[in-house]
């Protein structure tokens, strides 16, 4: 069970709000903000693929909140890597709140540019929630793919490999590939009408029906959002009004708000790129991180790497840039190829070759088996954390509203 901060008391928050000390010590505040941006650099540097930085995790005790312990630098974009990414998001989020939100004099949020930046941040948070939901159902779909791959694995692990095993594996893998392909196809995501019109007949020569029906039903039925919803558009909407603060604003709260927003958009963007999500056309162009800013450097590097992967993906029409999905797709294609040219009995070298592929696919399945449920829970935790923080920020903002405007009930 994810331990969210729900337990922190609501009434307590209100009472803090009511008796809050109006001015924080300025030095302390600036220090917190500085620390926050420094940690963002460190955290994201940890995620870089050929990680050599010695600054990271140098002194975990210096941080008030525990920094995530990266799992021996997993492959970029693997499930494990994403687990680390989400951990980092949660850390950044907590530090941001500590530095910017907690004990904040509501008046600070009422002054420009925060009177604009804070509502924008809140709006981004709401949009991020939809991304979380879409990613959750994408992960469900990935689980289904994993099951199909497992059918192929267990079938091809039989000895000797005969016609029956090959055909069984092939059927499963074709379903898998079709589902991956359908999933990526725009506008064909929802609606049974669309896939029904695809079926020509049943068995006979029109085997397409079999495949299609299965493939069609493997779509993320649980997609939690409206049919017209688009993950790419959502990410775009999150980032479109994301502008680096002007030089004059850089010392105040505008800067951490900007950093947090960038982190949030980056995390959502990477999730959408990696995991099957509804409608992702043009995703690549929807994120602009300024390279000149110190804290953004590791994020910029990551963005470029993921962008490259995404470009490859768009060319090949693959299902997502998640490392495991990529591998699964590649192996599935090779195995289908093998099945196409299968003759009984198999020559020795073929046997070895296939066994290698099957073992690799089994490994991918194993990683998914272990990683996907954990990732799923983490996505939920991110969701809950964003909701909670949003309401905490709103508490402060509302306080402000009350101070200035006579409330009206009617």
């Amino acid at each position: 069970m994810p331990a969210t901060d729900n337990q922190s008391s609501f009434l307590n928050r209100i009472s803090i709000r009511r008796n809050q000390v109006s001015s924080m010590e300025h030095d302390q505040e600036n220090e917190n903000i500085e620390l926050f941006s420094k940690h963002v650099v460190d955290y994201f540097a940890d995620l870089l693929p050929s990680h050599t930085s010695s600054t990271t995790n140098a002194d975990p005790s210096s941080t008030s909140l525990e920094s995530p312990a990266p799992d021996l630098h997993p492959d970029l974009l693997s499930i494990c890597w994403f687990q680390n990414l989400l951990d980092i998001f949660l850390c950044c989020e907590a530090e941001f709140k500590a530095a910017v939100v907690m004990g904040r004099d509501p008046l600070h949020f009422g002054k420009p540019p925060l009177d604009r930046l804070i509502p924008e941040l809140l709006d981004r948070a709401v949009k991020a929630l939809d991304v979380c939901n879409a990613v959750s159902s994408g992960l469900d779909l990935t689980r289904q793919w994993q099951k199909l791959a497992q059918i192929a694995v267990s079938s091809l692990e039989q000895k000797p490999i005969g016609e029956g095993q090959v055909r069984r594996a092939r059927k499963a893998l074709n379903n898998l590939l079709t589902s991956m392909m359908l999933d990526d196809r725009d506008g064909n995501y929802h609606g049974k009408g669309t896939d029904r019109s695809w079926s020509f007949g049943r068995r006979g020569g029109g085997g397409a029906s079999k495949n299609d029906r299965t493939g069609g039903s493997f779509r993320p039925l649980s997609c939690s959002v409206a049919k017209s919803w688009s993950a790419a558009k959502q990410v775009q909407a999150m980032s479109s009004n994301l502008v680096a603060p002007k030089a004059a604003e850089q010392t105040g709260l505008a800067s951490p708000v900007y950093i947090m927003s960038t982190v949030m958009v980056f995390v959502m963007w990477s999730l959408v790129a990696a995991i099957p999500c509804q409608e992702r056309t043009g995703l690549q162009t929807h994120l602009n991180v300024p390279r000149q800013l110190e804290w953004a450097k590791p994020i910029t590097v990551l963005q470029e790497k993921i962008g490259e992967e995404w470009k490859k993906k768009e060319k090949r029409g693959a299902a997502g840039v998640l490392d495991e999905i990529k591998k699964m797709e590649k192996l599935a294609k090779s195995l289908v190829e093998f099945a196409d040219s299968f003759n009984f009995p198999l020559e020795e070298e073929k046997v070895v070759e296939v066994a290698e592929m099957v073992a690799e696919l089994a490994e991918v399945c194993q990683k998914m088996e272990e990683g996907l449920p954990a990732l799923q829970l983490q996505v939920r935790e991110v969701f809950h954390r964003i909701v909670r923080s949003r309401s905490e920020i709103l508490d402060v903002v509302d306080q402000n509203g009350k101070a200035s405007l006579p409330p009206v009930l009617y």
Binding site: L11, N12, P160, K171, A208, L221, S222, A226, R380
Partner: protein
């Protein structure tokens, strides 16, 4: 079987393949497709873009295999072997094989390649059996329109089930000797036939799940239109048979008749026997999940993004909340229960699979259902939303308690956690709404007094709001208690924090009834309202009018409290007594201010009697001033408002009781002093009956309400 020959058959050139193709794929729309096959083999990349071809190839592979087996059969000139006899032989052989396997010291059948002892020879019956099963499958699954499962006779089904089961066992037993060259080919053949049978059965299973259900709502209206005879129309036999058969009552689970269910059960049984558990589960999962999704759609339960929900106007959102509530209730009370029964029935022999399938399916739907209240709890808070929030909260609470019986703990745990988080958020939103109500009452500072001292719209609004809120009293108690317990602080911690709606059991001690957090909240609001009304009464320049205003509002509040049992129960008697005595005080103040002076004119006889004689000029003055004062009072106060009839008559009566007797006695004593006629007429303007009548017209002003506060 001759391996060389196999290779030859399998390695046949395209020409041969195309022949096979043509045999089986004589459907017009497919005839142009085989051309792609050779390209397909050479160019793998093409395939990615055309999944149809992949499948096509699969079909051909199957066909090829069947063909090859067919060839073997045809070679034998012996009369067709009898399935029953062959089956017996196979059973014996399986036994021999597994014993031989045990002989190797390996437990049961394995694919251990190091088997030392030579395995028993392959009897002819294996080939015969393969051929028979192959022929059986071919009969059902050939050409363009495969024979539907439900068209098979019971014997057909039975023999198919038996054959597949036996075949799977045979395959398993033979696999123990897979390293034996002479077996490998047989294993390959049997595996191929089994796979073909399983592929056919998987399709049938999928079809059955998808097309053999009736629309449950249609079914209610029309019992005859049942199991839509699937894609082809030959199912009449079945469709006709059913209605008479189960005339009394057809029990449908999730749209399947009992017969359909038993077919599903058989299909599961056979798929499991053939080792296709994974496929079977996935097909079932997808079909049922789709079905429930459709049910969601039928409920006009629209999936909305969190973002959209924030932007919706309240009217639209209110409608969505209503339909969400209905959906939630129907799913928890009907659909999930049925779904559970269905999986238990269809997977009767595999209870753990049945459980995990049902749980996974239900969980996926529940997660979707829970997204909506999450989004709702995040919308901008407003007083009018309280009641819909309460509806959602109650639904979630009921759902929470049902989860336990619906799902297995490992599945319900996470969902419970999710649901309780959402409830927590709704609870916070509701408490905020109350805080905002308090703030609004505090801040309401209109400068214009309500004409006639009538009930202030704020009073009306607040009291109606509280009255409505008290219809949800138990839930609100829960909400407040929950947050209080999260506080873990100085609030009364003896109050139960769990989800028991109202328990009086802990109050039966001799401890005086403790006020719950919600009751405290109520009192808070009422106190604030009281303070605000007192402040507002100062807006009246006329003191008696301000008393009337206070009486009106105080009375309104008390009446509402008494009328609404829930509020009344929440307030202790002391509070009400305090309020009542306040009201009496206003009453007294009013009477004193308005009527004492007048009464004084009548009662104070000082100066009236000079040496025992009535002084006429003074008496004239007395009458004149009484008349003027009374007129003035009547004139002003008739326009004042007391809308509560009882209060109005109480007040009139008390005024009458005070004024009329005094006037009557004054009249009785002094009116004869005047000479009858003009003098009397001039000074005695009112008979005591007139005074009474005038008093009875007091506080009758037309009520003009402010109209700002509305509920």
């Amino acid at each position: 079987m001759d391996i060389e020959k196999d290779k030859q058959v399998l390695g046949n050139d395209e020409k041969n393949e195309k022949e096979d193709e043509a045999k089986l794929n004589n459907e017009e729309n497919d005839q142009d497709q085989p051309i792609n096959i050779s390209e397909n083999q050479e160019n793998v990349d093409d395939k990615k873009e055309n999944p149809d071809e992949d499948i096509l190839k699969e079909e051909i592979l199957e066909d090829k295999n069947i063909e090859e087996l067919g060839n073997v059969d045809n070679e034998e000139d012996a009369p067709p072997p009898d399935l029953v006899k062959v089956s017996e032989e196979i059973d014996e052989y399986i036994l021999i094989l597994s014993n031989a396997c045990k002989g190797h010291g390996t437990e049961n059948v394995t694919d251990d390649p190091d088997s030392e002892t030579a395995p028993p020879n392959l009897p002819i019956s294996v080939e015969q059996f393969s051929g028979l099963v192959k022929a059986m499958i071919e009969e059902y699954d050939s050409g363009d329109v495969p024979v539907k499962w439900d068209q098979l006779t019971d014997e057909d089904v039975e023999s198919l089930v038996g054959a597949v089961d036996r075949m799977a066992k045979l395959l398993k037993a033979l696999s123990g000797f897979s390293s034996e060259y002479k077996y490998a080919s047989s294993i390959n053949n049997i595996g191929g036939i089994l796979q073909r049978a399983m592929a056919y059965l998987e399709e049938e299973f999928r079809d059955f799940l998808e097309y053999h259900k009736v629309d449950e709502e249609d079914n209610i209206n029309n019992n005859e239109s049942k199991s839509k005879p699937s894609s082809n129309q030959e199912g009449d036999e079945n469709a006709e048979k059913e209605p008479d058969q189960v005339d009394e009552k057809i029990s449908y689970f999730c749209g399947y008749s009992e017969e359909s269910m038993s077919n599903l059960y058989k299909l599961v049984k056979i798929l499991m026997a053939g080792g296709h558990e994974a496929e079977c589960c996935q097909i079932y999962f997808i079909a049922r999940r789709n079905d429930l999704e459709e049910k969601l759609q039928k409920h006009e339960f629209e999936k909305r993004s969190v973002d959209d929900v924030q932007k919706m106007n309240w009217d639209a959102l209110e409608k969505d909340i209503i339909s969400w509530n209905e959906t939630m209730k129907e799913f928890t009370s009907i659909h999930f229960t049925n779904e559970h029964k269905l999986s238990a029935t269809v997977f009767k022999d595999h209870p753990s699979i049945a459980e995990s399938l049902f749980n996974t399916i239900a969980k996926g739907i529940i997660i979707q259902l829970l997204n909506f209240p999450d989004a709702v709890a995040m919308t901008k808070r407003a007083a009018e939303k309280l009641f819909k929030y309460l509806d959602v909260y109650e639904s979630l609470r009921d759902f929470h308690s049902k989860l336990e019986e619906l799902l297995a703990t490992e599945y319900s745990k996470e969902l419970k956690y999710e649901a309780s988080l959402t409830r927590g958020r709704l609870g916070e939103a509701m408490i905020s709404i109350f805080f905002e109500l308090e703030a609004s009452i505090k801040a309401d500072s209109g400068k214009n007094p309500v004409p006639g001292g009538a009930v202030h719209p704020l009073t009306r609004y607040t009291m109606n709001y509280l009255e409505y809120a008290c219809e949800y009293k138990e839930t609100l108690e829960q909400v407040f208690r929950k947050h209080q317990s999260m506080e873990g602080s100085d609030w009364d911690r003896r109050a139960p924090t769990e989800d028991q709606p109202q328990n009086s059991s802990n109050n039966d001690s001799n401890v005086k009834k403790q006020q719950s957090p919600f009751e405290m909240q109520l009192v808070n609001v009422l106190e604030l309202l009281h303070d605000n009304i007192e402040a507002k009464s100062k807006l009246y320049k006329d003191y008696p009018l301000s008393m009337i205003f206070l009486m009106n509002n105080g009375r309104y509040i008390l009446q509402k409290i008494k009328a609404c049992g829930a509020i009344n129960g929440s307030l202790n008697d002391t509070w009400c007594r305090k309020r009542s005595s306040c009201l009496r005080q206003y009453h007294k103040n009013y009477q004193r201010e308005t009527w004492s002076k007048l009464l004084n004119v009548l009662i104070n006889h000082e100066g009236l009697l000079v040496k025992g004689k009535v002084s006429k000029p003074v008496l004239k003055e007395r009458f004149k001033s009484f008349n003027a004062m009374f007129d003035e009072i009547i004139k002003t106060q008739t326009s004042w408002v007391i809308s509560d009839e009882q209060l109005q008559s109480e007040l009139r009566v008390s005024i009458s009781n005070m004024v009329v007797p005094a006037y009557r006695s004054f009249m009785g004593r002094f009116s004869q002093t005047f000479t009858p006629g003009r003098q009397t007429e001039k000074y005695v303007k009112f008979q005591s009956e007139d005074v009474e009548a005038r008093i009875d017209e007091l506080f009758d002003g037309s009520a003009t309400s402010g109209g700002r506060w509305k509920l």
